[in-house]
């Protein structure tokens, strides 16, 4: 019977054909051990693919990982998280400060004086020996004092939807050039000029409008157009000579200015626009010097220049127009966002982009002309493997060089003799936040007691498999900003009960806490899809129940959770986490002006002292002073307990043991060293010097 035979033969042939392909496939052995190419290749795996390989456009971690290798910023951070020069050889920061001459104010001891006299007054006080210490400090920083003559200008502003022409005839202005940035300058100058000198400046007198807009609006407008005082911090970058892009085009100040302009161009929709909004002007003084002038004091500004620099010659107006025409698109609306550049990036980093296969891999080759010397690896491969178990299997097989260990595997893999392991703290923490608008959580003692009732150490031990550390405040734990003097809230349910009793909560007959006949009852919520948070939810509920608090819990889908509960402040308590940057700027999360709907201070933390410190930290350019303010702020937040700070995660990564650092010592001899992490736990810091050896090296105990 032919049909019967066919029914048996066809599937057999198909299956046999599929199975025989096994004999053609190279084994892992062939790929890893027998292949010399493999030793000069570093392969890493990621769960997700990159989106746009353009540092000014992308906001995801996969893209930034590639960008950090292909592009280079003006500066970055060294082993101790201090800034170091990259494309910029060096930089200096100084300040230009301005204030308008207030001819109505009376100067203490002199009365009303002419602008010229202010100049001589300041100079005289500068050389005087009887100044208070803080004033003296400010005066000593002044390098130059100039008077800017009065000037007129016209501008169009919109007020309440109306276009208004304003004419400003500004009075003379005094310009001070300071050696360093000094946020207390005007505060101290008040000691000479009188305490109302700046605040009483009648700016509105110098502004006239074509339509009558009323006194209040006019004053507002004047404050914007003629601010009585102005701090203009300036950063001057001296660029490294001889640096070239991967296409051989030299890198100059034009590229820096272009990168800034590309970010600010509204057509490009750059998510980094808020970082550069405080920039007033970027000036090219010569091909290797760029001056960045800021509108106001904003100390996180320096850090933003670690952004990769784009090549101007490939993305300027002409280049984009040409590309648009070639691809048959409208040159008017064509922006960097549409450009092919984002899939074939060119920068001046240590690796050159070679190939990108969506959702499969991205391959980079080393850049032979890299200014610091080419990396040891010839190739960097970024594989996209969305499944963690598959990643792990590939790592064991040797086709991936590093693997991020999950908490439950740490105990097993950390001491595995086949691998070298590194671990450190991540830049984020998990917390329970209390809605301080609700009466229940207004009392500091109640919030503290709630924290004391939870055994965080046990959460770390059992939920995180020990892969976490306690945290007491909002700063990154491995930076100087974190105040290590603050002790975590102890686990003490009895103490918690005592605190609650002080606050008026007593246990009733059923054992529930009660105040004025009302039971202590609230709902704790978190988002779904995060098992750790769900576990903490149950633990907290149980811990609080034990001291007599009736807690309900709810787990919500992320977008509902954010839009309906967090944004609208419709919650009692919430379990969430924050990812942080190294910069200690806490404005968005902790300042009292950020407590409205859709803002990030959703717990409603308001504290005057904290507000002052947050602003001061933002405006302070001196590291030591910043650290001092941060420590104080940390103390206030730890005392107030708007959050119960729970823990910061620990990460662990394992690497093939054959990967070492290859370096050249003073005598020109090649030396191999073991990879050691920096103080902050970053083991990839010396990545450009890494190489894989054919067999596991034996290091003497000294290294």
């Amino acid at each position: 019977m032919t049909i019967k035979r066919l029914l048996l033969i066809i599937p057999s042939v198909l299956v046999l054909f599929l199975l025989q392909s096994y004999f053609w496939v190279p084994t892992y052995e062939d790929q890893t051990k027998g292949n010399p190419q493999r030793l000069v290749q570093f392969i890493t795996a990621s769960i997700g693919d990159a989106s746009l390989l353009n540092p000014i456009l992308s906001a995801d971690s996969a893209s930034s990982q590639i960008e950090s290798l292909v592009f280079e910023g003006l500066i970055d951070r060294d082993e101790n998280l201090r800034f170091r020069g990259r494309l910029a050889k060096s930089w200096e920061i100084y300040e230009e400060a301005y204030f308008y001459v207030n001819d109505e104010a009376k100067i203490p001891g002199s009365g009303r004086i002419m602008p010229g006299e202010i100049l001589s007054l300041l100079q005289a006080r500068k050389s005087s020996a009887h100044n208070p210490a803080n004033l003296q400090a400010s005066l000593e920083l002044i390098k130059e004092i100039n008077i800017l003559p009065p000037h007129k200008f016209k501008t169009i502003v919109s007020i309440g939807g109306r276009e208004i022409k304003a004419t400003v005839s500004a009075p003379p202005r005094i310009k001070l050039v300071l050696q360093r940035v000094d946020q207390d300058l005007f505060k101290n100058l008040k000691l000479i000029l009188g305490k109302d000198y700046f605040s009483s400046f009648p700016g509105w007198k110098y502004v006239s409008t074509d339509l009558d807009i009323g006194r209040a609006h006019l004053k507002d407008l004047a404050r914007k157009l003629l601010p009585a005082t102005e701090h203009n911090p300036v950063i001057v970058f001296h660029l490294r000579p001889g640096v070239v892009f991967h296409d051989g085009h030299p890198f100059t100040a034009k590229d820096v200015k272009f990168t800034y302009e590309a970010i600010m161009d509204p057509k490009n929709l750059s998510p980094r626009i808020s970082d550069y909004e405080p920039v007033k002007q970027v000036v090219i003084t010569d091909p290797l010097t760029v001056k960045v002038i800021y509108k106001r004091l904003y100390s996180p500004a320096l850090g933003t220049w670690s952004m990769g620099i784009l090549p101007e010659h490939l993305l300027n107006k002409q280049a984009l127009t040409k590309e648009a025409i070639r691809r048959g698109m409208d040159p008017e609306t064509f922006s960097i966002r549409q450009s092919e550049f984002n899939r074939h990036p060119i920068g001046c980093g240590p690796f050159v982009f070679k190939e990108w296969k969506s959702d499969r891999y991205i391959i980079l080759d080393r850049f032979e002309g890299y200014w610091e010397g080419p990396p040891n690896y010839k190739q960097y491969v970024f594989r996209i493997i969305p499944d963690l178990l598959t990643q792990e299997m590939e790592f064991y097989a040797g086709t991936v060089d590093s693997y991020s260990v999950q908490p439950h595997q740490v105990a097993r893999l950390k001491n595995d003799p086949r691998f070298q392991s590194f671990s450190g703290l991540s830049f984020g923490y998990t917390y329970i936040g209390y809605n301080m608008r609700r009466d229940l959580f207004k009392d500091r003692r109640v919030r503290l007691a709630l924290g004391m009732a939870i055994n965080v150490d046990e959460i770390i031990r059992y939920v995180l498999y020990g892969q976490g550390e306690r945290i007491t405040g909002p700063f990154v734990k491995q930076t100087d900003y974190y105040n290590h003097g603050i002790k975590p809230v102890p686990y003490d349910p009895d103490g918690a009960l005592r605190l609650l009793e002080e606050a008026g909560w007593k246990r009733n007959k059923q054992g529930w806490l009660e105040k004025d006949g009302k039971k202590f009852q609230f709902t704790l919520i978190t988002n779904s899809g995060n098992d750790l948070r769900k576990a903490i939810l149950a633990i907290a509920q149980d811990a609080w129940k034990r001291i007599g608090i009736d807690v309900r819990t709810d787990v919500l889908e992320w977008s509902v959770f954010i839009q309906e509960r967090i944004d609208k402040h419709d919650f009692d308590a919430v379990i969430l986490g924050w990812q942080m940057g190294i910069e200690p700027d806490l404005y968005q999360i902790w300042h009292s002006s950020q407590t409205h709907s859709y803002q990030l201070n959703f717990v409603g933390f308001k504290n005057k002292q904290a507000d002052d410190l947050i602003i001061k930290i933002r405006q302070e350019y001196d590291h030591d002073k910043q650290v001092e303010y941060c420590h104080k702020l940390h103390q206030i937040i730890a005392r107030e307990q708007p959050y119960t700070f729970l823990y910061v995660n620990k990460w662990t990564a394992v690497l093939d043991k054959r990967i070492v650092i290859k370096d050249v010592d003073k005598n020109g001899q090649v030396v191999y060293r073991k990879i050691t992490p920096t103080k902050t736990g970053d083991y990839t810091f010396y990545f450009n010097k890494w190489i894989k050896l054919p067999r596991v090296p034996n290091f003497s105990p000294g290294g």
Binding site: L8, R360, V560
Partner: protein, 319 residues
């Protein structure tokens, strides 16, 4: 026949129109926002979010957004929000990746189910039938991801060969026969996994269809007149049992664009399913809606084809 085709096309166009409206509404009214306008990223200022909303037309009424979307879709200008690449081009790339998986999976399903099912039906109640039934139910009830992990660990630890991805990573410049065979090998596991469920279900179908036909009187007649059993089973019975499967052929079509998220993720296969899944997570509306639209078209085309096949296969049926 022609009038049927005409009527059918009109009906299906109307259905497609409603599908487009409903799917558009579901996706836009579902909670969640595109990641570009996610309000909980401190880097995104309200002005920037506003600008993104404008660029994506999210600030306009839904019916305008609907028109914008379908205008862009039909002029081929639709671009993904994630990486600004044309959606149709993205889908086409992924389609080509998913296609071999789909073809091999379907071949395995259809070629293996028939011999298994027919034999079960012929020797119903015997050891063979019971074994096949047992394994069918086992395969139906094992979760795909679990089975996949077991298979991967088994193959990798036993045979030390790579199984994930579309080809051995870093194979470099080998000559073409090993290249092709390498690709075939990488197809094997994911398509077997994709086919197991199908084989289990389809062979059950074949079995019950055969059983039903074998009870007919003309089969008894055939046996009574002394025909060879093979002749009876494979000629008289099988032909009549095949009829319902003809229609199932048309319904395979939508599978072309489906793709399995789980299998593709586990095997790092850059296919359609993964792209659609990631688009949903990022609320990349253009990609989600286009995939949705294309699969709606394929489903409708599939039912249309099966109607036609039915008519061709069985002249008694008039539509």
């Amino acid at each position: 026949m022609l009038s049927f085709i005409g009527r059918s096309i009109v009906q299906k166009t109307v259905t497609l129109f409603f599908v487009s409206i409903v799917s558009f509404l579901i996706i836009h009214l579902a909670p969640g926002k595109p990641s570009q306008v996610n309000p909980l990223n401190p880097k995104f200022t309200p002005e920037l979010v506003e600008r993104f909303r404008k660029a994506f037309h999210l600030d306009e009424p839904l019916y305008d957004q609907y028109l914008y979307f379908y205008r862009d879709l039909f002029t081929g200008k639709i671009v993904s929000w994630k990486d600004n690449r044309p959606v149709l081009q993205k889908i086409w790339e992924r389609f080509l990746n998913s296609l071999p998986l789909f073809i091999v999976g379907t071949l395995l399903t259809w070629t293996l189910s028939f011999p298994l099912g027919i034999r079960s039906a012929i020797y119903r109640g015997g050891v063979y039938d019971r074994t096949v039934t047992f394994f069918s139910y086992l395969l139906i009830s094992i979760p795909g991801f679990f089975f996949a992990y077991v298979l991967i660990i088994f193959v990798v630890t036993r045979f030390h060969v790579p199984v994930i991805g579309m080809e051995t990573f870093g194979l470099g410049d080998a000559s073409w026969p090993p290249m092709v065979m390498d690709r075939v090998w990488h197809l094997l596991l994911p398509s077997v996994l994709g086919a197991t469920g199908g084989i289990a279900v389809l062979s059950r179908y074949v079995r019950s269809q055969m059983l039903e036909v074998e009870r007919q009187e003309y089969i008894r007649t055939a046996v009574a007149k002394g025909l060879h059993p093979d002749q009876v089973h494979y000629k008289h019975a099988l032909r009549n049992a095949l009829l319902p499967f003809v229609t199932m052929f048309g319904l395979i079509l939508p599978g072309l664009i489906g793709g399995s998220v789980i299998i593709e993720s586990i095997f790092s296969w850059p296919g359609m399913g993964r792209m659609a899944y990631e688009a949903i997570l990022a609320r990349d509306y253009p990609v989600i809606l286009t995939v949705n639209f294309v699969s709606a078209v394929l489903v409708l085309a599939g039912t249309f084809i099966s109607d036609i096949l039915y008519m061709v296969a069985d002249p008694r049926i008039r539509l």
